[in-house]
């Protein structure tokens, strides 16, 4: 019996996560991108998020992906990089949106725009897996799952309940 050597069929990617870019210490004079991933009902959550930032006196700018099933088009990524300082990506409640939105978070981070991905609790593991596989120490905040069958009021309550957590995730004082 002789020893055999096989060849690795995988991408041989590194396992060590790259830390995300440090977010600003304060959101004063900063503009936050609210990136709607394009999933049904997500806009209702983002609507409320926009109101909450406005009430806090923080400027926002909205963006929307054409589909949650793909990573953001280069144009959107470039617009965000050009116009804002930090990004909140919402609201992933499925496998494809989680993976694609995590790539978007990573792509923006690498272009100097730190941020946070907002997902439903069910996709915590998927987010962690995707981060680990691309070697990225991304930030995330979770709402309850599921969200598709909730009323608009309930979606707004979800936004209310995680708003402080989101603000904390995009400011360095809480790092």
């Amino acid at each position: 019996m002789t020893a055999t050597a096989l060849r690795d069929p995988t991408a041989e990617t590194a396992e060590v996560n790259r830390p995300r870019k440090p977010p600003p210490q304060s959101l004063d004079d900063k503009t936050v991108a609210l990136l709607d991933i394009g999933k049904m009902r997500g806009d209702e959550f983002v609507d409320r998020m926009e109101q909450l930032f406005a009430a806090r006196g923080i400027a926002t700018k909205r963006y929307k992906k054409p589909t949650n099933t793909r990573t953001a088009p280069v144009e959107i990524i470039q617009d965000i990089v050009s116009d804002v300082d930090i990004v909140v990506i919402a609201l992933s409640d499925c496998g494809s949106c989680t993976s694609c939105s995590t790539h978007d978070l990573n792509d923006l981070d690498q272009l100097g725009i730190p941020g946070v991905n907002v997902l439903t609790e069910e996709f915590r593991h998927a987010f962690e897996q995707q981060c680990s596989k691309i070697g990225f120490g991304g930030a995330s905040v979770y709402t309850p799952h599921p969200m598709q069958n909730r009323t608009t009021e309930q979606l707004h309550e979800f936004a209310d309940s995680v708003f402080e957590e989101i603000v904390a995730a995009i400011t360095s004082t809480n790092e």
Partner: protein, 484 residues
């Protein structure tokens, strides 16, 4: 057993096989030459006892045959201090006389007799020798196994399989697979989701080996991979989705017959190596290179058997008038193509009573309306695999692909009032604002028809499409030419 020392200046090497008639023929010439004082190192490829009386040595491992790039037996090589000076292949009396400087050598033998193929050049053996003694040119990380490790089990332990055993990817097998393409092994084909990791031809070959492909299938695997990586195929979302779907591969063109694919009986089932392993190779690439592992980034709620493999050929033979899927999608008849569709497993369609094309159309439409949900519309695409017996009802009435497709779409238009959310007491449905519209079930280009299956049986199959298809311009099936 003797072994060959490093040849010093002016050595004569002779490679022979016991089973080669020409090698047997030249024995008197060898004896004559040795009697005249020449020292010839005789290397035997197949039977270590052959020509022992002349001091032959074994090359059963074929290492020397490989290193000297022997293509024929017998091959006589004159080696000088700086390497090879001359060689003669087969029995060529004048050539042997010149090389051995013996003008009357073998005068009783015929002037010429061709030799046999060298054992080191036999298919399967040559790639093993490249892996063992040559430069296989494989760049992927080596995974060394202990001599007691079971190769198959190691593949499971490394997490490289879809749950079924895979063929262990050894260098010899990878070299053999790479001979199925002319493309450079280090060419990057694209980035495989969900990790968007670059995939080279070599990585694809490793996974094709594991899937069980033969080298002649490899161009189909590469075309399928390229189709899957076209942005509009939405492989990223398709892999990570909570839905059931995965790539369904339809092969058109003469290659289907040339590599022995199935388009007939049990076409969507098991039992055909090409069908089974081409689809599986794509899935393994997505798993191993892309990182699409169930429970991690493959978040399918239920999955489906198509996620192991789902690949078949269209029947382009039993009805030469039928327009193949690839032709309906803009390619020439006779061009080899793959069409990738984002689909689920099959929903059987049974109709043993329809006699006219109108009846069958209505009947098919009723079943097609159930794709995804009866009340959903323009939400997924669909593939209809129509069997020869069902198709003959259309054919006998003179209906071609276009007429069938148009009639099916027409039979699936419904009033929005029946479909809106809440209508018929069911929450699922289309948005309320479409209440007064007449609504199509599928996008006009969203119903793909493939003719395949056994000649007997009034059964067809509906393969529901993925929900990503609701973004009409963002997620579409893809057809791509197979480049040989």
């Amino acid at each position: 057993m003797n072994t060959l020392a490093n040849p010093d200046s002016s050595t004569l090497l002779l490679f022979v096989k016991a089973e080669c008639e020409t090698c047997q023929l030249v024995v008197p010439a060898i004896e004559e030459s040795m009697n005249a004082g020449n020292t010839i190192e005789i290397l035997v490829q197949d039977d270590a006892s052959f020509l022992n009386e002349l001091g032959s040595i074994s090359d059963l491992a074929l290492e020397e045959s490989f290193r000297w790039d022997v293509e024929t037996t017998p091959t006589l090589i004159h080696v000088g201090a700086d390497g090879e000076l001359a060689r003669v292949e087969g029995w060529d009396r004048e050539g042997w006389q010149r090389l051995l400087n013996m003008p009357t050598l073998g005068s009783d033998l015929p002037e010429f007799q061709p030799g046999c193929g060298s054992k080191s050049r036999e298919p399967g053996i040559h790639e093993t020798l490249i892996a063992e003694y040559g430069e296989p040119g494989i760049c992927s990380r080596k995974v060394e196994l202990d001599k007691w490790d079971d190769e198959m089990e190691s593949c499971f332990e490394h997490g490289w399989t879809d749950g079924l055993p895979v063929t262990p990817p050894t260098d010899a097998r990878i070299v053999r697979m790479l001979q199925g393409t002319r493309r450079d092994s280090q060419e990057v084909i694209g980035k495989v989701p969900p990790n968007l990791a670059p995939v080279t031809v070599e990585k694809a070959a490793i996974n094709a080996v594991m899937a069980g492909c033969k080298p002649e299938y490899f161009p189909v695997v590469l075309a399928a991979l390229e189709a899957a990586l076209e942005p509009v195929f939405t492989m990223h979302g398709l892999l990570c989705t909570t839905c059931f779907s995965s790539p369904v591969i339809v092969v058109n063109g003469p290659i289907a017959k040339q590599i022995g694919m199935n388009w007939g009986m049990n076409v969507l089932g098991q039992g055909n190596r090409a069908n089974a392993t081409i689809g599986r190779a794509l899935q393994l690439i997505i798993r191993n290179v892309g990182g699409g592992i169930p429970g991690e980034l493959d978040r399918s709620t239920l999955g489906g058997p198509g996620k192991f493999t789902f690949c078949f050929a269209e029947d382009e033979y039993s009805d030469p008038e039928w327009e193949p899927l690839s032709v309906s999608r803009g390619f020439e008849r006779g061009q080899n193509t793959v069409t990738l569709f984002q689909g689920d497993g099959i929903q059987g369609f049974i109709d043993q009573r329809s006699r006219t094309p109108e009846e069958l159309t209505k009947s098919l439409a009723m079943s097609l309306l159930a794709v995804g949900h009866v009340k959903l519309a323009e939400f997924t695409n669909a593939m209809l695999v129509i069997s020869p017996e069902h198709h003959s009802i259309y054919k006998d009435a003179g209906w071609n692909r276009k007429k069938i497709t148009d009639a099916l779409h027409a039979a699936m238009r419904r009033p929005g009032s029946e479909l809106i959310e809440g209508a018929q007491g069911v929450g699922e449905g289309v948005v309320a604002s479409r209440e007064s519209e007449t609504i199509n079930k599928f996008w006009p280009e969203g119903l793909l028809i493939v003719r395949a299956g056994g000649q007997a049986g009034l059964y067809s199959a509906i393969c529901a499409g993925w929900t990503g298809g609701r973004f009409r311009d963002q997620s579409q099936p893809v057809t791509r030419e197979i480049k040989l």
